[in-house]
């Protein structure tokens, strides 16, 4: 157990009653990479869950005239004179230059200058006007806003990561606690089962599940969670085995408490540290697996997006439109970085072994 910081008044630390967590928090705060990771995660999570509500575009909205427009392209709304309320088509300045349509006005440069000042340019039966918004990361090949798709894809990726980790956490903790607490024959059988499942090629197992039972996103949670619980069960078991010999557990038992109460009230709270650390490191592993499946076309299905789906689409189109690969790839990698940094930091702050030496 991490001991309380040596203070001149030991009783003060004891009175607070949360000194272990407080110490861990202090240690974590000193780890700059972990703090950076945590801050990044908060920014990414808030952006993903609230961002799509405030952006002017919807993740399924297609502007087919704006297929694969580059990031920050200056959008141009094109109106018909009879209907100035809504544009009937879109383009962007760079493409208008390539198309040389404005050459017909006689002085193309003057027309562009007027357009970029916000004035409208009339050409035949079309009226061109600079649009109020830009697609800051461009659009995909169906004219959908990439930024919004990354944000809403993040909801799915983060959601899968959290949900599947929760499944793994629940199964692993209960299984490991029971095996570790009761020990003996039950423990041997239970852990032998874990060993056998452990030696199965689990990626193949998840792929088979996805193939056989349809590409359902809820099944994805369960399938991934069902393979990620094994390590959790092992960790919890060994922690429980060490904890159950402590005097306070014996005291609880001599007071006549039942096994269930002893496991959940007395032992599990004391193995929380490693469980939290391992959960933090499971989330990136799960997100990676989800993206891996989606990349193969076996995970989340369009039009829903996830970071894996976006990277897959980007990889297919990268020759002509590299931003479709680069931005989703950067956001995904950044998230994994942050989770790994935070997980490492938490391990250093909470872990029994590393704080002992």
């Amino acid at each position: 157990m991490p001991v309380a910081l040596p203070t001149s008044e030991p009783s003060a630390a004891a009175e607070k009653g949360s000194s272990l967590w407080h110490d861990a928090w202090l240690r974590l705060r000193k780890n700059r990479l972990a703090v950076f990771g945590a801050a990044s995660l908060i920014v990414i999570a808030v952006a993903c869950f609230l961002g799509p509500l405030v952006t002017p575009f919807h993740y399924e909205e297609q502007q087919l005239d704006l297929r694969a427009s580059p990031p920050m392209a200056e959008l141009v709304n094109i109106y018909r004179p009879e209907d100035l309320s809504a544009p009937f088509s879109w383009s962007y300045v760079a493409r208008l230059r390539v198309d040389r349509e404005f050459d017909r006005t006689g002085d193309a440069e003057a027309a562009f200058a007027r357009l970029q000042k916000g004035e409208s340019v009339t050409l035949g039966t079309r009226i061109y006007k600079l649009a109020p918004h830009r697609h800051i990361l461009g659009t995909d090949t169906l004219g959908r806003d990439l930024f919004v798709r990354i944000l809403s894809g993040g909801r799915v990726s983060l959601g899968v990561g959290l949900a599947a980790t929760f499944v793994a956490l629940t199964i692993g903790v209960v299984y490991g606690a029971v095996a570790g607490y009761f020990g003996g024959m039950l423990d041997t059988v239970m852990m032998r089962i874990v060993d056998i499942i452990y030696s199965l090629p689990f990626t193949i197992f998840v792929i088979l599940l996805m193939v056989f039972f349809g590409r359902d996103i809820y099944l994805l949670f369960v399938a991934i969670g069902a393979v990620e619980w094994l390590t959790m069960a092992r960790i919890v078991r060994s922690q429980v085995m060490a904890t159950k010999r402590m005097e306070y557990v014996e005291a609880a038992r001599s007071l006549g408490f039942g096994s269930r109460r002893i496991i959940f009230r007395h032992i599990l709270p004391n193995v929380l540290g490693p469980v939290i650390v391992y959960s933090t490191l499971t989330i990136p592993a799960v997100m990676l697996l989800e993206a891996f499946l989606s990349f193969l076309g076996l995970g989340v299905q369009p039009p829903m997006s996830s970071w894996g789906v976006l990277i897959k689409e980007g990889a297919e189109k990268m020759e002509d439109f590299p931003w479709l690969l680069i931005y989703p790839g950067v956001v995904f990698s950044w998230t994994l970085f942050s989770l790994n940094f935070l997980g490492d930091g938490l391990r250093d702050a909470l872990d029994v072994r590393s704080s002992a030496d």
Partner: protein
């Protein structure tokens, strides 16, 4: 040692049997068969197809037949490619994937171990930080991002390599590099940790005290103990490289086992799917067994515990 080996072998065979059985029955339980194509098949043709593949027999009999054939090494005809057996298809694809896997493993060990050693003996210097940063990048940036990016930069922009295919020696470079780097990162991390632990031990101090050169201390004395964590990681790494090849073979369009597996899953080519699963499972578990034996040979503690 023999007992250790025998018990691991038995466990692997049991696991393999579980995989075969579970996959077989899952496959039979799913709605939608391989002959439900867009083309309407007349009931007579469907019936004769099913008779040809033995699908009209009761389930347990099909299962028994499959196991009997499997023991003889026969995986049956492919559903999708009727004139080829699963054995032929796998024999085509396996060497490609093995080559990809072995070369990637060589890249992973060849880059990871030296980086880890440098990180450990030059601890907390810039060399260590560079190695650690590389490790973090390798762990956090997945192969399906690195792969397309490498294609974009080295194949499409600089045109040093062709973006896909598996014909010439230069076609091997990008796929093996991408897959190898992903596993070099954790290997570097583990080597660094293992070496740091060993370098503090008494026998290393003794070796230094008797005047052994620094190179001899590191390579002759410390490395054997320092690499133990790497050896125990090799099992998961091999499994990861084999399944990682699904993505690599898709990105670089390599005609290997990984693509065959994913394609057979999409095509519902059940015999091919089952055959690939069995082959993969046998490969992974066989190699894991090998790793266990190497580990037991390198570390007497493991032998005693079992």
């Amino acid at each position: 040692m023999l007992r250790f080996f025998a018990s691991r072998l038995l466990q692997s065979l049991l696991a393999l049997f579980v995989i075969i059985t579970a996959t077989f029955f899952m496959m039979k339980k799913v709605p939608g068969g391989p002959f439900d194509s867009e083309k309407a098949t007349s009931p007579e043709i469907k019936a004769s197809l099913e008779a040809y593949y033995g699908l009209n027999k009761p389930l347990y009999e099909q299962y028994g037949d499959y196991l009997k054939n499997l023991v003889r090494g026969e995986l049956g005809p492919s559903f999708k490619y009727p004139n080829r057996t699963v054995n032929e298809i796998l024999a085509d694809k396996l060497p490609v994937s093995l080559e990809l896997g072995l070369l990637s493993l060589a890249v992973a060990l060849g880059a990871g171990i030296p980086l880890g050693i440098v990180g450990a003996i030059r601890r907390n210097t810039w060399a260590d930080y560079v190695a650690s940063a590389f490790g973090m990048i390798g762990i956090s940036v997945p192969t399906f991002v690195v792969g397309p990016l490498f294609v974009l930069v080295f194949a499409l922009t600089f045109q040093w390599f062709s973006p896909s295919g598996w014909y010439t020696a230069s076609d091997r470079v990008l796929p093996c590099l991408v897959l190898g780097i992903a596993y070099a990162a954790p290997i570097a991390r583990l080597t660094r940790g293992g070496m740091l632990e060993v370098l503090h031990q008494d026998f290393v101090r003794t070796a230094r005290a008797k005047g052994a050169s620094e190179a001899r201390v590191i390579f002759k004395h410390a490395l054997r103990g320092g690499l133990l964590p790497v050896v125990s990681y090799l099992g998961p790494a091999i499994a990861g490289i084999l399944t990682g090849s699904f993505v690599i073979e898709t990105i670089f369009q390599i005609p290997g086992l990984g693509r065959a597996f994913v394609d057979s899953a999409f095509n519902r080519d059940y015999t091919l799917l089952l055959g690939t699963v069995i082959l993969y499972a046998a490969l992974i578990m066989g190699l894991n067994l090998l790793v266990d034996v190497v580990q037991a040979w390198m570390n007497p503690k493991v032998r005693l515990e079992s």
